[in-house]
Symmetry: C3
């Protein structure tokens, strides 16, 4: 990879200063940069590191006195984090899936492979599956019977997609992600203790011990365009209708999405979050890491849940929540401060009792 | 798939009314139903949706005035959720694993494949492994050396089963599930800070920094009959004896079961729950999602743990628990309500102090 | 496997008593032991079990009157848990990966396979990858383009290692573990509600709904020597620099390590823990199960975090923490005790109010 400073600035819609013909071959943190690297020094805290490293050109923070750091050129960008999107996309060396369909792939004769598709070694494409034009399927992937993936899909290694899944364009699947596992849905012949306990908030009643009958998942998974699903996630099939994930939504690693869940557009779901069956999530919702959502509730548009939040009841649109159980962030902060003061409060009350009883 | 109304009613042990010869080809939510679908309208809340959809026949709630919804036939069932088990099993179109042993499977000559087994492409069956009659092994599965799986097993794609695992009949393994990973067990040459901190509840003492020595898992995993393990779960081998999961127990996705754990019969373990090493779990226990259980404790028969519970001490049989640390549900509710009132309580105490000091 | 008592004692650096020529073929818990097993009875609580089982030799606790349990020989060890490391390593029957490179493995001609390497069936080794001498790569593994694994590596089945990963010697990878998934890093064109909410602790301001732009991971993963990574873990690539895991560190199952994280030496990370992007973890840190760490903070050397801790702010070296949010263990205990007494405290304050208002 070789880029001139001017080329990079153009791609980012940014301003360049100094020697715009300077050539770089990669990007680097400022302290680690060689003379061939573009240093990424988007905030003043990188000043010293810039001097330490060997970079001759850097993306710098607005107003930086770039020449004072020994640079020959600089790129200025109004929203540095946004520039990261452009630079890293330009510099990405990829995973090296070989072009074309590898001879060790196992492709059902009834599958439809559109133009310009690459399929890595030891991948399996099932009966009547369809792979959209220009897609890259890594090694060891599995595309189930009658599943469809849209154009420009990129699957890393060991992704599996169950039968009848419907996936839009430009989908990215990280290693080991599971689309279309069966929903976790069981029923006892008679009312169970857990059904009673949920209704009564704690009392199992006189339900007897029983075995669990399986409810099969005859729905599948349906995913919009521009969705990314992280490594080792699990997205369950719906029971009757499809489980649904809206366009533009991104899931981090080890996220669990239960059967029948519907997630809106442009959501971010951070690592190890779990969303139970039949939850409705709006658009532009952000879940921090390790959040949990109880089954059969809704989370409105634009909700932000801090890491570790366990959401047990409906959350109206726009709310910022935290805690177990999750409450409004400001309520959580107020409760938390009061807890820290609790031991002192108890001493105060003990003193008061003494004073009053005199 | 084609079924008459009568056929479905018979299979469910339910009553049919109206045109019992009507034929359906699938099941659907009431609003989405075509004229060929059986609508699943098990509660009165589906009334409007029934009118919206095109279904000519539905499973309806007890006492429903089915003709008023424009239906030609109806099926009545006393416990609707239970009917879901039967209907979805009938209507399940499956994953389409081709019959027989796929030529691209790699099967050790010493493995024993019983009658009527299907093995998908690119699956590996190790030395002296045994696959029970009528089992279906999906694509990309791995059955380790000397492992046995019982009759009627169904493995989805990319399931792995380690050496010497012993699995009963009718086992279901969801995609990417891991049976027989090595236990997480390490020891330092001298007493470590974490050993001290656990004993003293917080004080690491004067333990020095040390490296960890590996304790190998020479035990395996043993699983009863009718067990289902979810997608991307991890079930660790025992250290000396086998880790054990009892008959009829069902695990959701991304569940972690540590080494030496023994789980009883007919338990439900919801998504992302983790059970640490050497825990004993009784029969008919239900763990909600994202529960955690500390190592070396027991959870008695029939315990129900609400989602997110972190169980740090033994739980007697029959108890319903919640919280971190988990306590009886009613204690949790009481503490939680008190917390919500804490800020007010602090103001009350401040007022009292003023009044009393006058 | 056959070992004399003397052989075992020598290997453990322990003392033997009685018939040192006695031969054992395996190890067992005392109650389950056959006459050919070495019973592991490292504490007096196993006394009764020793009498129940058939073992003729046992590893016993210091000072045990071994002859009274009907044993013909005994092995004494000063730190019994440490002896477990040696015994289980001796007795481990392994996973049976066949020697040599399996004909059904797919190996790029430009890959470098050093001496004495075994590669299981259906594994893929990418272009210019390097596998260190004496390594054992299980079935269904994937080693990406230009990745290197050191000498004496052992990968269980279905491990994937992304492009350009650099892994040291004696690495152990459990089934389904994912090294080098892409980091979870997205940015909106303008400031987002979640950025505002993090700064203001709860207020999203007037940010509008936007779509997410992807920041690519051009860094990789770098791992020291003697590291073990559990089943179905996910270790993300760094954004610009490499994500780093230091020598001697061990990860349990289903652990998530975000992009740019740096973990020091000899840490233990228990199951289902998640460490967000750009966290710095020192040496000899222990995370209990299901811990979480917020992004961009540090956790100092020798910190111990109890199971379920959610670490939201920097933790200084040597501290023992617990809770959500995590605080010093003793603070947590104090708060928790006060919470349990809260309902009573509220009654006390109500009584005081009545008394005072009279």
């Amino acid at each position: 990879m070789e880029f001139t400073v001017q080329h990079i600035a153009d791609a980012l819609g940014a301003e360049a200063a100094g020697n715009k013909d300077l050539i770089v071959c990669g990007a680097s943190e400022p302290a680690d940069a060689t003379a061939q690297d573009l240093a990424l020094a988007m905030s003043p805290k990188y000043g010293d590191a810039l001097r330490q490293g060997q970079a001759r050109v850097a993306i710098v923070w607005p107003g930086a006195d770039w020449q004072s750091f020994g640079l020959e050129a600089a790129i200025f960008t109004p929203r540095p984090r946004m520039a990261m999107a452009g630079v890293t996309q330009m510099m990405d060396a990829g995973q090296g899936v070989p072009e074309g369909v590898h001879p060790a792939a196992v492709i059902d004769p009834s599958a439809i492979i559109e133009a310009g598709v690459s399929i890595g070694p030891l991948s399996v494409i099932g009966a009547r599956a369809r792979i959209g034009a220009g897609s890259v399927i890594g090694a060891h992937c599995y595309i189930g019977m009658e599943a469809t993936v849209g154009q420009g899909t990129f699957l890393r290694e060991m992704v599996s997609i169950g039968a009848r899944a419907i996936i839009g364009d430009r989908f990215i699947g990280q290693p080991g992600t599971r689309i279309g596992s069966d929903g976790f849905s069981f029923v006892t012949p008679e009312v169970s203790g857990v059904e009673n306990a949920r209704k009564s908030l704690g009392d199992q009643g006189d339900a007897k011990a029983q075995s669990w009958m399986r409810i099969y998942s005859i729905g599948a998974v349906e995913i919009g365009d521009d969705v990314e699903i992280g490594a080792n996630c699990t997205i369950d099939n719906g029971t009757i209708r499809n489980t649904y994930i809206g366009s533009g939504t991104k899931l981090d690693n080890l996220v669990h999405i239960g059967h029948n869940v519907r997630i809106g557009k442009d959501c971010l779901v951070c690592g190890q979050t779990g969303i139970s069956g039949s939850v409705e999530v709006g658009n532009n919702v952000v879940f921090g890491g390790q959040c949990g959502v109880s089954d059969n509730i809704f989370v409105g548009d634009g909700v932000v849940a801090a890491g570790g939040s366990k959401i047990l009841t409906n959350v109206p649109a726009g709310r910022v929540v935290m805690g177990y159980p999750a409450v409004k962030m400001e309520t959580h902060t107020e409760i938390y401060k009061a807890q820290r003061r609790l031991p002192r409060l108890q001493r105060d009350v003990a003193d008061l009792k003494k004073t009053v009883s005199k």
